[in-house]
Amino acid sequence: MSAARGEHERLLNWPLLDGIPSLVAAAHELKSPLVLVRQLSLMLEDGDMPADEQKRMLRQISLTSERALRLTSDLTRSVRLTDALFDLEPVNPQQLCQDIVRELQPLFSAHNRNVKFVSRKNPLLLVANRDLLRRIILNFSDNALHYADDDSTVIIRIGLLGAGRIIRLGVRDYGPALPIDILKSLRGKLANSPTPIHARPQSSGLGLYIAGQFANIMNGKIGVTRHSDGSTFYVDLQASSQLSLL
């Protein structure tokens, strides 16, 4: 089916995925939630919907709007990275991940999926900007939500690397495996971050591009691991030397 890629580019007059300028990518990413909200609203305006169906549609509108707002807020933050100072401080990733899971639970439930944090016995501290790190994990989780199988659980996990000098926060989804060619392309681009990258074939990759920028400014990096039944997107950050104070 890969022959169709050239056809796609010929028919659309712009390269598929990789070459999308960021402004076009942003517009593309924002169109999808707006389209859904508009369609649901138009249907509700028509009336004559059963009450439980109305309730479900309204819930979808609010959750979809929240996702779109997160993206616009990330975009704004991303544009201002160069002229703003971001304080790096010791952050407890365990607490942060627990907060994120609590925040995302309603969205995942509405999609018949679950999100869970696997807590660690020993507390860890890493050096980060809490807000930027939160946005990275939200971004990975949003990506995972889209690609995870129905009724599956997305797992957020914290690990130690490099004899404890690096802390990895990973978001694991259970769904279709990334094709090898996509993985190679993705890894190459992740290594050269920040450059436009795409999470999965149909995505412009704007979310991951922004996550890469956020990680970069915290002296960290993002990456992806392919599994036979899904993927793990992760961010690696420096462990805090204040760990011993805990």
């Binding site: 089916m1 890969s2 007059n13 389209v35 369609q39 249907m43 979808q60 979809t64």
Partner: protein, 123 residues
């Protein structure tokens, strides 16, 4: 009521559900798949009367599916309606030979446009 069956190929789960909601209320039988490979299986199993197809899908784009469908005589005749955010980038003239009969712009369409489009391609 209609006996016509419509396959919706759309990877946004809630948008697919919304399309199905509109078509169900108009009396069509609907099936939903989220990617091209599942769509091929659904077409083999159910031979829908019309396919509503998004362009940017998980795994392979709609054009991969269009190629595949055109390879076989029985599936090549199924009318296809592209329903996409990229409508302004596409030309129906370029896509006619893939069995695409109509392009709906997700950003401007009304729910009733999908029903009108189906009636148009069936007639």
């Amino acid at each position: 009521m209609s006996d016509l069956s419509v396959l919706i190929v759309e990877d946004d789960e809630w948008l697919a559900e919304q399309h199905a909601r509109v078509l169900d209320r108009a009396g069509y039988k609907t099936m939903i798949t989220s990617h091209a490979l599942a769509a091929i299986q659904a077409i083999d199993d159910n031979c829908p009367d019309v396919i509503i197809l998004d362009v940017l899908l998980t795994g392979s784009t709609a054009f991969a599916l269009l190629h595949e469908l055109q390879s076989y005589g029985d599936t090549g005749d199924i009318p296809i309606i592209l329903c996409t955010n990229l409508a302004s980038e596409l030309s129906i003239d370029d896509l006619k030979h893939y069995g695409v009969k109509k392009i709906l712009d997700k950003t401007t369409m009304l729910p009733s446009d999908m029903i009108a489009a189906i009636k148009g391609v069936i007639s």
